[in-house]
Assembly symmetry: C2
Amino acid sequence: MKKREPIFSKFKKNEFESICRERGLALTIQRRAILAELAGRRDHPTPDQIYDVIKERLEGVSRTTVYRALETFVCIGIARKISNPEAKARYDADTSRHHHLTCLHCGIVLDIHDGDLNKLKLPNESERGFEVIDYSVAFTGFCGHCRSMGGIDRAVTKINPGSSHYETS
Amino acid sequence: MKKREPIFSKFKKNEFESICRERGLALTIQRRAILAELAGRRDHPTPDQIYDVIKERLEGVSRTTVYRALETFVCIGIARKISNPEAKARYDADTSRHHHLTCLHCGIVLDIHDGDLNKLKLPNESERGFEVIDYSVAFTGFCGHCRSMGGIDRAVTKINPGSSHYETS
DNA sequence: ATTCCGTTTGCAATATATTTCCATCTATGA
DNA sequence: TCATAGATGGAAATATATTGCAAACGGAAT
């Protein structure tokens, strides 16, 4: 098994702290905990998934704070709000260009790092007035867990929030 | 001005009717109207946007019916629920492989048909147990309308539902 | 360490989006 | 036309997200 680099690296932590200082944003324990949780996992969690973990450690944190902190991270450029077909917010602390696999059954979002996919020619959309900033390739399919569960009717691609599960690493 | 093929073509209509017959789904006036509306527009509407139009023509139609019909269309393969970072579902009656431009300011989703983008090599994710079914390239940026409006702070990429507007064709 | 001030938080209320329940109604085949 | 499986409408429940404000906190100056 290949050893993995921790996502909430020293680098990310320093980046966060210096950006906050530049902008006059306070380094609160809530923001630290929320960022650490977001950056420490690989499943692109929803605000509620983060809240559920955070609340065990931080007595009395509010769901509102989680929502607010995540939006703040997006605004200062240390996280992204990612697109997914569930249409609920999911966040990603990795802001480098990479791509996603979304399971059509349970909604989990996994990363793909692939050099070729990072070199797509941008379409010329200036004629339509659109300014392209970035892109990401969104793959859809079925994750290992959902494939191995018997009885999944693939015609029913409706995402089932009740059956969520996560990569165990 | 280039003439455009109507999206709710004879083909789509026949496809819908035959699939419904095969599956024992009733061809109700609600489903017909909802599909016609979805397929007739190019802006990837939310259920509410469809409802707002439909209710003028179909006295007493329920929002619930619109939600249900759209999910049904996805299940039978004649529409897709598309990925987007807003906290609401958007649907697309074009199930062929194509790609999307999403405006980071107003949330509008435009189509891109580009032959090169349709030929990406699928990543080999079978080792991780993921079965890839399809993909779509999600471009983000700013649409012509949002670019031309003065005073947009690009650092604030939060999607603003209040400023929605649509392609006039 | 203490004080001050602007930022952030928690809570409650509100807003928006979606789903569920069930009585009633309708499309469709016999 | 009739029977009936399937669909609808409307209310209510649930899920998701945002806002306003008083109290608490972080960080800089002292």
